[in-house]
């Protein structure tokens, strides 16, 4: 089992390095960062000065080495826009850019916003898991019934829906028309409901279908008939035996959906003004704050890779074959 864990960990690290390298090169391929940051009105002198301050005049391999070294220690540089760094982007003496007190490093800013994103993702996952499990089991226990067909249509609708549109519709219906929930922001348990529901709808759709098909497969197996013949209760058959045996694909998809939710929060947080890292990323993109963009995407990549790693590890518990093979 240790070998299995070590292998998965190493694979995750390799993927992490590849992904953040892609972030580095993408940031330099889309144009001159100094021009993007300063805007078209900046003089050539200002642009050269900022390039020197950012180390952009160095060869790409040198920049890359510094970037990887920084990423390994959590140092992506200082945000250009939040705090005092707003100022020092113009003029001939931008070389003192990073030496001033009151610097605002990008990564801690991102980590500050992480709890809000985790809360939102956790609630959305909770909704998704609970509702999908319920609907999937109901559909599996009444195959080809009207209930099954209705659930199937609903789940397809969930998969197809566009999340930002759904968000606006939920705001319109539950906040503006009904006045039951706040439109946006954070602070109370009511604030998390609409954004979490928006995030949960698509996973509910996909998970419901997977739970249904996995359960149908399990309920058709001979051991289920044998259990019934032995007098085991239906609740035990469904919830203890069949559900556990269909857990692997469900857990795999849960991991997949967790990753989707973590990246899906970007749009939802903007719609609902939820103060998480998604909103921060959009602000950083609008402000062309390269260090903040890199730091935020790095954190998102780490979260997605971590989720997949945990899913892989969970197989050793759920599937004895994996445990025994390793």
């Amino acid at each position: 089992m240790l070998v299995y864990v070590a292998k998965r960990t190493l694979q995750s690290l390799v993927i992490l390095v590849i992904m953040i390298s892609a972030v580095f090169f993408a940031g330099r391929m889309i144009g001159d960062p100094a021009l993007m940051i300063l805007g078209p009105e900046a003089s050539q002198e200002d642009r050269e000065s900022l390039r020197r301050a950012l180390g952009l005049e160095q060869p790409i391999p040198v920049q890359y080495g510094r970037f990887i070294q920084g990423a390994a220690t959590g140092d992506f540089g200082d945000t250009f826009r939040y705090g005092r760094r707003t100022s020092r982007m113009h003029g001939p003496d931008a070389s003192g850019f990073f030496e001033e007190t009151g610097a605002n490093p990008a990564l801690p800013l991102v980590l500050e916003r992480l709890p809000a994103t985790f809360l939102l993702a956790a609630v959305a996952l909770g909704f998704a898991f609970a509702i999908a499990l319920l609907l999937g089991i109901i559909a599996a226990m009444r195959p080809r019934s009207q209930m099954d067909r209705s659930i199937n249509v609903l789940s397809l609708g969930g998969v197809s829906i566009v999340d930002f549109w759904l968000g606006f519709m939920l705001i319109f219906f539950f906040s503006v028309r009904l006045g039951w929930l706040p439109t946006s922001g954070a602070g109370t348990w009511q604030h998390v409901l609409l954004p979490a529901a928006t995030l949960a709808v698509r996973p509910i759709g996909r998970l419901t279908q997977l739970v249904r098909s996995s359960m149908l497969d399990e309920l058709a197996k001979p051991y289920v008939e044998a259990a019934r013949a032995k007098g085991v209760s239906e609740r035990a058959i469904v919830y203890v035996h069949a559900l556990k045996n269909s857990a692997i694909p469900i857990v795999t998809m849960m991991g997949d959906e967790t990753a989707n939710i973590l990246t899906g929060v970007i749009i939802v947080e903007v719609v609902f003004a939820w103060p998480g890292i998604g909103q921060l990323l959009i602000q950083a993109l609008l402000m062309r704050d390269l260090p903040l963009i890199e730091a935020t995407i790095f954190v998102l990549i780490v979260m997605v890779i971590a989720v997949n790693w945990l899913v892989d590890l969970s197989y050793t518990y759920l599937d004895p074959k994996v445990r025994l093979a390793n």
Binding site: P40, H90, V176, R177, S184, L219, R235, V270, Q279, Q283
Partner: protein, 557 residues
């Protein structure tokens, strides 16, 4: 046979489930048909909970304790230098005050933290600092504190963004306890205007708590800073020691801070701001769409107010050595200008805008020339001009004009650019219309034309000083990175105009405007207007900078 897998006992009984579903659906339908409800407990102190206050009807004169304002942009820092442009830090001008203020309706310069001022020479302005004023941290405002604040904000080593509005370098020194000299290292007729933009901050904070400059605003204004939560809100509370209490200011609005607190909620999405306004979660909503404006006007409890801003959308075809030969011919440029129906674009595309007057900006700018005619829309005349140019061998048919905008640069900028391109295409000039990523657009717009380039950006610009010199200095002076016009005589004329003040300046700039009209260098689609939703019965004379200062409101509170 369909097996009942629970041996006769269903997990959920089907009839109950159907009945429940029916009841739920009916309930939702009834509720959605207009039965509203307050969302939260009036006693709930949570940051985004404004329903308690919003539920009271301001139009009926109910007292609002905490005013909630939904704003379109988030502050990046609480530094005083952010206060020069409202979108940098919405609402912070209620905390910081300038030395000189501007009347929101007439534009007249008025005393604020300075009670009087006079020019000693063309590079020195003497001001008398108002006595008895203290900063929110208890430190006194005097000439030394004011001088420190001026020097701090305009310091070239700090390079704050406010320096983009500066002419010659600005410095200051205290002459005595309440007499301040502000100096420039060259004649600056707009110095007083620049001081209107500059907020005054606490010297004690900068000395003793410099690490708080980014995160706490310490000024002298009618509201003091309470907290700033990035990504969420800015909270202010009334300053009971404000020097301006029980005094009238400008003869506009209540002149007093009527609310105990003001909370600015950051809401990037205009749809969400509109929803907050409609749901009663925000008393005031910043920058709404034309559709939301209509909805507000149809609501008996709300109203929509609009005003032109200091932002405009310009277009300027390449016109410099290296540009396409056809664009060097004034007839072709005139044809392009005549082809564009700005009135139609303003009315049907941008909506919240004012059409131009044959010059880039409207009549509250210094240098506005009331004698010149609008460029006008005359496609027939445009085609005639092109035919004349063709007959003289100008390669009009060889011209493909690249018309581009920067994505997201202004509301409906993509649609505006498409309209501009379509109008030009209709007179027989080939166009290539694109909406470009910032990196691509910025690179192109800052590159001088070569190899017969034919490029015309459609892009917004802004000048809080509202002086015609600024856009021409950027778009037409040959040394500027954005300019594609190279005329040394024009450069000299323009620079000479910038050294003048008062009526002389106005007259000189009007000549520049007339020259532009004649040569078709810089065109404008229109001046952008912005809309706010405020409670019915309130009044607010919005300044062109759309600066939110609550004492200028008439609220009846």
């Amino acid at each position: 046979m369909q097996r009942d897998v629970l041996g006769g006992t269903a997990l959920i009984r089907r009839p109950s489930l159907r009945f429940l579903a029916l009841c739920l659906g009916a309930g939702l339908l009834l509720a959605a048909c207009g039965v509203g409800a307050e969302t939260t407990d009036p006693e709930d102190p949570d940051p985004d909970d404004a329903a308690a206050d919003a539920a009271s009807d301001p139009a009926a004169g109910d007292q609002i304790e905490e005013l909630v304002v939904a704003v379109s942009q988030e502050a990046q820092a609480m530094q005083a230098q952010t206060a020069y442009k409202e979108v940098n830090n919405p609402g912070v001008r209620n905390v910081y005050e300038p030395l000189i203020q501007k009347h929101p309706e007439t534009g007249e310069l008025l005393p604020a933290l300075a009670t009087e001022w006079e020019r000693l020479d063309e590079e020195t302005l003497q001001l008398q600092i108002r006595e008895g004023v203290t900063f929110h941290d208890g430190s006194p405002l005097d000439a030394e504190a004011a001088a420190y604040s001026v020097n701090h904000l305009w310091n070239p080593d700090h390079n704050f963004a406010i320096r983009e509005t500066m002419g010659p370098q600005i410095t200051a020194e205290a002459v005595d306890e309440f007499t301040l000299h502000v100096m420039t290292d060259g004649p600056d007729p707009l110095l007083e205007e620049r001081l209107v933009l500059q907020a005054v901050q606490s010297m004690e904070q900068l000395f003793e708590r410099p690490e708080t400059e980014d995160t706490e605003a310490v000024g002298t204004g009618p509201y003091r800073f309470v907290e700033w939560q990035p990504g969420s809100h800015l909270l202010l509370e009334r300053n009971e020691d404000w020097w301006g209490l029980e005094q009238e200011h400008y003869g506009v609005g209540d002149s007093q801070p009527p609310f105990e607190r003001i909370r600015f909620l950051y809401r990037l999405e205009s749809s969400v701001r509109g929803a907050m306004s409609e749901a009663g979660e925000a008393h005031i909503t910043m920058y709404v769409t034309p559709e939301q404006c209509e909805d507000a006007d149809a609501d008996p409890d709300r109203q929509c107010i609009t005003n032109p801003s200091d932002a405009y959308i310009f277009y300027r075809p390449d016109y410099q050595e290296g540009a396409h030969e056809a664009l060097m011919d004034v007839r072709v440029r005139e044809a392009i200008f005549l082809a564009i129906d700005e009135d139609s674009i303003v009315e049907n595309v941008i909506v919240l805008a004012e059409p131009p007057y044959g010059q880039p900006f409207n009549d509250n700018w210094v240098g506005f020339n009331s004698d010149i005619e609008p460029f006008g829309y005359d496609p027939d005349r445009a085609r005639e001009l092109l035919d004349e140019a063709r007959a003289d061998g100008v390669p009009v048919d060889d011209l493909t004009l690249l018309v581009t905008n920067r994505q997201g640069a202004a509301p409906r900028i993509e649609e505006t650019t498409q309209a501009v391109g379509g109008f030009i295409e209709a007179i027989g000039i080939d166009t290539d219309v694109r909406s470009e990523e910032p990196a691509v657009f910025n690179e192109r717009v800052t590159t001088k034309p070569t190899d017969g380039r034919a490029f015309m950006p459609v892009h917004p610009s802004q000048d809080p000083l509202q002086d015609m010199a600024t856009p021409f200095l950027a778009a037409a002076r040959s040394t500027h990175v954005l300019s594609v016009y190279d005329n040394p005589e024009f450069d000299e004329q323009l620079l000479a105009a910038t050294r003048l003040s008062g009526d002389e300046r106005d007259a000189a700039l009007q000549e520049i405007v007339a020259f532009n009209r004649e040569q078709h260098i810089l065109g404008s689609v229109g001046t952008l207007s912005f809309a706010w939703v405020i409670p019915e019965g309130w009044d607010w004379p919005i300044t062109p900078q759309h600066r939110f200062e609550i004492v200028q409101f008439t609220t009846g509170q």
